[in-house]
């Protein structure tokens, strides 16, 4: 009897350690990736001045006359496409979340929720393909452009991809708003619409902001869809109708043929590092907002 309890105690301990190990593994992987990125990208700056890297708008590592490594255009394009996607996805996502949690009858919710989950599971190549054959020509037609491969196209596609994240997390946030708030608002004579817009959504705002930040994190790191649909011209974008090339697309296009251990190779890792830092910051901010919101609750 005694032995058995001792045994189960040891077992308990081992299981605990096992899970600890799993947790640590994730941290190790993250640190490992960061180390690798840092290690592989630092040699870039032996040949490229760090000032040029962060201030030049010309990215042309395989130049005919002279090579140049400037990522300003790439960063700007990435931000432009991402912000564009949010302009499209945030109102739609919040409206959808509000409908799902506040208005939709149970039956509609039963159909809509799994549908949104399926949307999250569509591979990005498929979305990119849609961008080429459907959204591109549509944009060209609506705005009377010669071609639909531009920043807007990328924004729409990324918006579609960020939607599921934004919807499901915002919905949780809106659901978490105490019923008392709504009841109080309704009792004071506010209409359902006024309650939703002036009480429920503001009360869930920090959760919604976190949802938006996470959606943004998803959008900023997406490669395939933007690579296929934005035209990939490395020029500094003149307008939302310019073809743009994002940080991710640059890595996606060039890493396949670059000779290993050259400045070009290292510089692609440096681009990756910049991207990593960008998404890392976004995640930290969204984490911080989410924490605040949980505290407030």
């Amino acid at each position: 009897m005694k032995r058995r309890s001792k045994f189960s105690k040891i077992k308990e301990k081992m299981v605990e350690k096992f899970f600890l190990l799993n947790g640590l593994l994730v941290v190790f992987i993250l640190v490992g990736i960061f180390y690798l990125l840092l290690n592989e990208s630092l040699p870039t700056f032996k040949e490229v001045s760090i000032v040029e890297f962060f201030t030049s708008t010309t990215w042309n590592p395989t130049g005919y006359h002279k090579v140049s490594y400037g990522i300003v255009s790439l960063i700007f394009s990435t931000i432009m496409v991402t912000v564009g996607s949010l302009i499209f996805a945030v109102p739609l996502g919040i409206a959808c979340a509000a409908y799902l949690s506040e208005i939709a009858p149970a039956k509609a919710r039963e159909i809509l929720k799994p549908t949104i989950e399926i949307l999250a599971g569509i591979p990005s190549v498929v979305i990119g393909f849609l961008g080429i054959v459907l959204i591109g020509p549509m944009i060209a037609k609506i705005f009377n452009l010669p071609n639909g491969l531009n920043a807007i196209n990328g924004s729409v596609l990324l918006g579609i991809m960020a939607l599921p994240t934004i919807i499901s997390i915002s919905e949780d946030a809106i659901n978490a708003v105490p019923d008392d708030y709504k009841k109080a608002s309704l009792a004071l004579g506010a209409t359902e619409w006024q309650t939703l817009v002036k009480v429920t959504i503001p009360a869930a705002l920090s959760g919604i902001i976190a949802a938006v930040m996470l959606g943004m994190g998803r959008a900023i790191g997406e490669t395939m869809a933007v690579l296929m649909a934005t035209g990939n011209a490395p020029a500094f974008p003149k307008s939302i109708f310019s073809a743009v090339r994002t940080l991710t697309a640059t890595i996606g296009i060039e890493l396949g043929e670059v000779a290993y251990n050259t400045t070009h190779y290292y510089s692609l890792f440096a681009v990756g590092l910049v991207l990593f830092v960008m998404t890392f910051l976004i995640n930290i901010v969204s984490d911080w907002v989410l924490n605040k919101y949980e505290e407030a609750e």
């Binding site: 010309t58 010669p146 035209g231 296009i253 060039e254 396949g256 043929e257 000779a259």
Partner: protein, 303 residues
């Protein structure tokens, strides 16, 4: 208790060793990849990927037991693969660079070059564009961004939209080195493949692009909605122009192998260069290997 734990540790170790073993196995095969193997891997140029696929299918039909896989990805990708000894044949629409040759040598790979067909690299515009003839210099200036309106070359008052390929494309490099002698304008859209480029120019009245002739000519006819420009007055649609070099953008399509090809790879290459194989290339819109390159092929194949 210890027995149980011990047993599970043994189990985990066994699985681990097994997995590691599995991971290693193909590596060993890779090192000893021989041309004789009835499995041939071809990778590279998007310009010649369709042609290469057709050859492979024909060859497989007539040679049971041989299986050939053909993938695109661009000449740069194919050459990188042959340098790393990952494929049997690399398709390329440009010459291998000296630096790449050096890398191959460092990896113990001896590059052998065979020209398998000729391409009249076509400069294409929308069918509604009245401009039918440009000089190499004009085309170069357009893609460098120095000419930005069609009226400068005798066309309508329209801003020129340039469409090109990405830097892993052999056509991108060939065109830059032989037409531009400089850098592409940063405004040029970098398309993912030849088909996407062709579709874009079809839809864009102000567009201009470049693509291997196999993508715009089928059975001797130009694909609808497009116009293939004469360059320096010569059309790539005339076989004679490509043969004599009167068409300035005539170029060979290469295959690179590691060492002199033997066995099935040699047999496949021989088939491609045979009358039957070259006929197929013509059907795909390309041209037969010229005499000059034939001689070089014979030398490189050691015949």
């Amino acid at each position: 208790m210890s027995k149980k734990v011990f047993r599970s540790i043994i189990l985990v170790l066994t699985i681990f060793v097994f997995l590691v073993g599995c991971g290693r196995a193909p590596e060993g095969q890779d090192g000893g990849r021989e041309a004789k193997s009835a499995y041939i891997q071809i990778k590279g140029s998007d310009t010649s990927v369709n042609l290469s696929q057709m050859w492979a299918e024909e060859y497989m039909n007539n040679n049971e037991g041989v299986s050939i896989s053909v993938t695109g990805g661009g000449s740069g990708t194919g050459i990188a693969a042959i340098i790393n000894n990952k494929v049997d044949i690399a398709n390329s629409s440009r010459d291998i660079k000296d630096s790449e040759k050096q890398q191959a040598e460092d990896n113990g790979v001896e590059i052998v070059e065979i020209a398998v067909a000729m391409d009249g690299l076509s400069v294409i515009t929308n069918a509604n564009n009245p401009v039918k003839n440009l000089t190499v210099e004009e085309i170069g200036k357009i893609f460098k961004g120095e000419i930005s309106n069609w009226k400068e070359v005798g066309g309508p008052d329209l801003t020129i939209n340039t469409y090109g390929r990405q830097s892993n494309s052999g056509t991108y490099v060939y065109f830059r080195d032989n037409v531009l002698n400089g850098d592409y304008t940063a405004e040029m859209k970098r398309m993912n493949g030849n088909a996407q480029l062709v579709e874009a120019v079809k839809a864009d009245e102000s567009g201009i692009g470049y693509v291997g002739i196999g993508y715009v000519v089928k059975d001797g006819k130009t694909v609808e909605g497009l116009n293939i420009l004469d360059v320096n007055g010569a059309s790539p649609l005339v076989a004679e122009n490509v043969k004599t070099g009167a068409y300035p953008l005539a170029r060979p399509l290469y295959q690179y192998t590691n060492g002199k090809p033997t066995g099935a790879v040699l047999d496949l290459i021989k088939y491609q260069l045979s009358d039957k194989g070259q006929e197929l290339a013509v059907r795909e819109g390309f041209y037969p290997v010229t005499e000059e390159y034939s001689k070089r092929n014979n030398k490189n194949l050691g015949q």
